[in-house]
């Protein structure tokens, strides 16, 4: 393919008008959604706004749409970018003109994304992320895929040659991992459904709170209550109804987990380049992310008993200076054990995961027990308020749960410090392994409460630029020698 010249100031693809228009319309609707709803409801109920005849309403809507369209066109016309030898220039702004210049060497990440609208009109958006805060980010809304790929290549390749005289990276690339539908389905089923459930519940609650007044006005809540309020006859009916609700909740949560797994990980592909790793995924929002091993701070491997039996591991990769929303995307699901090991060695070449792991002191177990008791008492208190005299019955669930929590949390907690890497294992249901490179540690901290002091126990907190790990409750002597060792490693 003929290399595309980006050195002349150019606009994005003219389809960009459509994308900008759609984005702003969506933003507009989202912002004034509640207002629309309120208006609509009062119009339906014919309370006021009698001057709002259909024709005037149409006029207003057309006006707003035209205004947004005009805005989109102006924005498109004023959005120009070009690339010179080592800088990316962007001028934008309708009234306030902005000129953004990003040196290539300061570019952290380049993403290619494609949302639903962009998929329909066959363009992609390209995001350039620099170190610094979230706002220092450039997004080009609409580019041909070929153009975007070429731009990405040019942004990355020249920089690397300048930086390290390395071979052209893109030349050797192979698809390392592609997720199959079956594995994705398994991944969805073995998700933590409790999480999905909480999301659904909070979503429904949020909606309810937002529209409480309208619902009351419309009398929906009364209807709901009367339909839910069955004749409280036998205890059997009550149990049956509760069981039904529980089963329904589990089903909905499972479905939600599966769907959300599919949407965010559809067509997940890991491409291995010479130096970098590329992740492609997404159904509605197609993403393409490039990971630079140099910037990777730590890796988190997550699995649980069920997932391990199915051979499913999740790999999260944390880079410095990446905003929270994007951080979520650096996740590869449904990997086999050996694939995880391969990718880890790609990022941390000397990591082998061998060698003995040390365990926290037994004091950690005591502390977990102590905390569980406090938590249990709190829940009991809460239950007393809610259920009255039958509150003790919840202990049949709470007590075994807490016992399991203490047992497994202690069992899974361990750590290992090798010449180059720090590994901390933790988790209760999940099995979480956090690997960080000792060289990239930013700060260390020893924490000790007065109870711990009496027992000569301390915890070590270790921060990298993107994450914080904790080695809980080890002997004070150990903690100090770990800190000494880490500092020696960082500083020498």
């Amino acid at each position: 393919m003929e290399p595309i010249d980006f050195s002349q100031p150019s606009r994005q693809s003219s389809k960009g008008i459509l994308v900008i228009f759609a984005l702003h319309t969506l933003k507009f609707i989202r912002r004034y959604f509640v207002v629309f709803l309120a208006l609509g409801l009062s119009v339906i109920k014919e309370e006021s706004f009698s001057f709002l005849t259909p024709s005037i309403l149409t006029l207003i809507i057309t006006g707003v749409v035209l205004l947004i369209l005009l805005f989109a066109i102006l924005k498109y016309l004023n959005f120009k970018f070009y690339l010179d030898k080592d800088q990316f220039h962007l001028s934008s702004g309708i009234v306030n003109k902005n000129l953004t210049i990003v040196p290539k060497s300061k570019i952290q990440n380049v993403y290619i994304k494609q949302n639903l609208i962009q998929q329909l009109i066959n363009v992609v958006s390209l995001t350039i992320e620099t170190a610094g805060d979230d706002k220092a980010e450039i997004e080009i809304n609409a580019l041909n895929r070929a153009n975007a790929l070429e731009l990405k290549k040019q942004l990355f390749v020249k920089k690397q040659i300048a930086a390290a005289d390395s071979v052209e990276d893109i030349s050797e690339s192979s698809v390392y991992f592609m997720v199959s539908t079956k594995r994705l389905l398994l991944e969805g089923i073995s998700q933590n459904h409790l999480k999905s459930f909480v999301i659904i519940v909070s979503f429904v609650f949020g909606l309810y709170n937002e529209f409480k007044d309208y619902l009351q006005d419309l009398g929906i809540s009364e209807q709901l209550q009367s339909s839910v309020n069955f004749e409280t006859g036998s205890l059997f009916n009550l149990i049956l109804a509760n069981a039904f609700i529980v089963v329904l909740a589990i089903l909905i949560s499972t479905l939600f987990s599966i769907i959300s797994t599919f949407i965010s990980n559809f067509n997940l592909k890991v491409i291995e380049n010479n130096i970098t790793i590329e992740i492609n995924k997404g159904l509605f929002n197609k993403l393409s992310l490039i990971l630079m091993p140099v910037r990777i701070q730590n890796i988190i491997i997550k699995t649980n008993r069920l997932k391990q039996a199915l051979g499913l591991h999740t790999l999260s990769i944390k880079q410095a200076m990446v905003n929270k929303k994007q951080q979520k995307n650096f996740k590869i699901v449904a990997l086999e054990q050996h694939q995880v090991a391969h990718l880890v060695t790609k990022v941390f070449p000397l990591y082998n995961g061998l060698g003995p792991f040390d365990k926290p002191d037994v004091y950690y177990k005591r502390r977990l027990i102590f905390r569980s008791i406090i938590w249990g008492l709190f829940v009991n208190g809460l239950a007393l308020v809610i259920f009255g005299n039958f509150f003790w019955s919840i202990n049949s669930i709470i007590v075994p749960w807490l016992a399991l929590f203490v047992h497994y949390t202690y069992k899974k907690s361990s750590y290992q410090i090798t010449d180059k890497y720090l590994t901390v294992n933790s988790g209760f249901i999940d099995r979480v392994r956090n690997i960080s490179e000792i060289e990239k540690i930013q700060s260390v901290q020893i924490k000790q409460s007065i109870f711990q002091k009496q027992n000569n126990i301390a915890s070590v907190h270790i921060a990298t630029a993107s994450d914080k790990v904790k080695i809980p409750c080890i002997t004070e002597k150990n903690a100090k020698s770990i800190v000494d060792y880490l500092l020696f490693k960082i500083e020498s």
């Binding site: 930013q442 020893i446 007065i450 921060a463 630029a465 100090k480």
Partner: protein, 171 residues
């Protein structure tokens, strides 16, 4: 070539041996002053309420409320005074150490090579006492940023200059 010598852990410089230096005693006055102002405002609001609110229940519980605030104030002040002795710091060739806390004691260490930038901030009161707060920032938002309050301004400046020169000298 890659070499991998064994390191004798006992020969490493240990943070246990570091002689930590207490911060300026003047800072205790600032802490006490701040706490007193805080509780003073609460007490003041309570008294205003006593005058304005004529509900008999409030008049009844007023003295309970007042003594509770007083108790909290005394406990808080005592805690602050005892914990003050734990506020210590040290500067080594390669790192900065700050230790604090009575109930939960923490010792934070930031290697000089990881410092992103430094800042000295001084409140109105700190300027009266000629004190300053040294803030040390590392990369990333999850990092443990260090804040050493109650340093003598001259000393804070010295440390700041020393660390700045070290950071700049490194690259």
């Amino acid at each position: 070539m890659f070499s991998n010598q064994q390191i004798n852990l006992d020969t490493l410089p240990s943070i246990a041996d570091v002689d930590l230096k207490p911060i300026s005693k003047q800072y205790l006055k600032i802490i006490i002053f701040n706490r007193l102002v805080f509780y003073g405002i609460i007490g003041f609001v309570l008294f205003i309420a006593k005058i304005k609110v004529s509900h008999p229940n409030f008049q009844l519980i007023f003295w309970y409320l007042f003594s509770a605030v007083l108790l909290f104030c005394i406990l808080n002040l005592m805690g602050a005074i005892f914990a003050f002795k734990k506020r210590k710091y040290a500067i080594r060739t390669h790192d900065v150490i700050y230790s604090k806390g009575l109930l939960v004691n923490s010792i934070s260490v930031i290697p000089v090579s990881r410092i992103q930038h430094l800042e000295i901030s001084r409140s109105w009161l700190a300027r009266r006492f000629n004190l300053g707060t040294l803030k040390i920032y590392t990369a990333g938002d999850s990092g443990i940023d260090l804040r050493i309050p109650g340093l003598k301004y001259v000393e804070a400046k010295q440390i700041n200059d020393f660390l700045s020169s070290k950071i700049n000298g490194a690259d």
